[in-house]
């Protein structure tokens, strides 16, 4: 009886590990799509209303979903440091302080470069750069979707199979 309970717990544990991996893949897809949408909103507000960057950041912190909203909140919280630290560094620190974005290194590099496009004199230059960043994140989102479709079943099966396999060995 004890062995059976142990086997069930083992299978449940490894299955949960597999399902967590699947959930992470799904979450990444959603975050990357939300980041692309946020960059689009940033571009639209900047081009049409010529809002100052701090106001744009504040607006996005309330208009985006978590954890992207956390990113903008982290930028907003650090903005009083402007003058001691450059906006580029403030943004970079905020990206580092938001690990829940679950970004791959390439995605993180791209996100860190966004402030290079912001705060210039030329609005058209900013529009082009933000549009480019938005497209990059749409591409990351598309790739994450493909990876999720390809890996979800595999991960779930591996989780269950690993549990069964271990249970058979140990019993």
């Amino acid at each position: 009886m004890t062995k059976a309970i142990g086997a069930i717990l083992l299978i449940l544990g490894t299955s949960a590990w597999g399902l967590l991996g699947v959930t992470r893949l799904r979450r990444r897809c959603r975050i990357l799509a939300e980041l692309a949408r946020a960059l689009g909103a940033l571009r639209a507000e900047l081009v049409t209303r010529l809002e100052p960057v701090p106001q744009l950041i504040s607006l996005l912190s309330s208009r985006t979903r978590e954890p992207v909203a956390s990113l903008f909140r982290n930028v907003e919280a650090r903005l009083p440091q402007l003058g001691e630290t450059s906006f580029y560094d403030i943004w970079g620190q905020a990206v580092t302080a938001t690990p829940e974005l679950l970004l791959e290194p390439e995605e993180q590099r791209e996100l860190r470069e966004v402030p290079r496009a912001l705060g210039r004199y030329d609005v058209e230059e900013q529009r082009v750069a933000l549009e480019r960043a938005e497209r990059r994140f749409e591409e990351f989102s598309r790739r994450a979707d493909e990876k999720r479709d390809a890996d979800s079943k595999t991960r779930a099966c591996i989780g269950v199979a690993a549990g069964v396999f271990l249970a058979l060995i140990l019993i």
Binding site: P52, P54, L82, F87, L118, G119, Y121
Partner: protein, 302 residues
Amino acid sequence: MNTSDKNYTAALRLLPPEMRERAALLPPERQSAAEELRLRVGHSPTVLLPGGEAPLGDVPVAPRDLDAVVEIATGASAHTSRDTVRAGYINAPGGYRIGLCGAAITDGGEISGFRALSSLAIRIPRARRGVADFLAVALGGKIPSTLLISPPGAGKTTLLRELVRLCSDGSEKLAVPPSRVGLADERGELAAASGGVPQMDVGRRTDVLSSCPKSQAVLMLLRAMNPQTVALDEITAPEDAEAIVRAANCGVRLFATAHAASLDDLTSKPMYRKLLDAGIFRAAVTIVNVAGRREYEVTQLP
């Protein structure tokens, strides 16, 4: 620490941290006399004092330092200053005007920004309470339409701001009655309004119209705010002069400034001569620098 020191210290917040630390070492008496901070790539930053420029340390200014000043001054939002950048400057909170110089980007014949900055001049605004009292004393409290004359950087804006405050608040001691003042503050230097609130004291009865071409602002103030006095900084274009004539015809008192070394110098310029011939201004104040000190000469005009 007096007001001037506070102004200097506040101006230093626009500088990158290392440069700010070196500039803060300037002795307090020189801080209170500082008129501008000047940053030129490849040279030490300097402070403009009544006697000339003095270096602030010996570390040359780098291009990134100038970009940092613009980023700090605009809150990382240089695009919000496009209109003033076209005129070669940006306004920073607190009434600081930053003059820009470098390789300009033109779009359709208009400057849209700067590809690379080569130098900046941060003008430190001064609120010198009482600096306009001499005019009330000289004219027995009845201050008429007055033109303030001096070369650039001699203190016209400071005097005009205080004259506006004095006439807006009034002064029993000087027998100056209070009046409604419409202030056309095109470059935001006089009132330094931020979020609609003047950062400099321009008086309780002053309505400020900023970031609007002076010629239009004068007429808008006349139409909308029913001023008894209209004040504007630097008559530079024929449209400004036309607006002044129209305002004078409406019976308001006018305070304005003009670039000239003296009254004779001013009358040699056709645009100003027309204004003076029309008898719009009844007094002129010429600011002269005597051994690093400002002196004011009041002339009653015919």
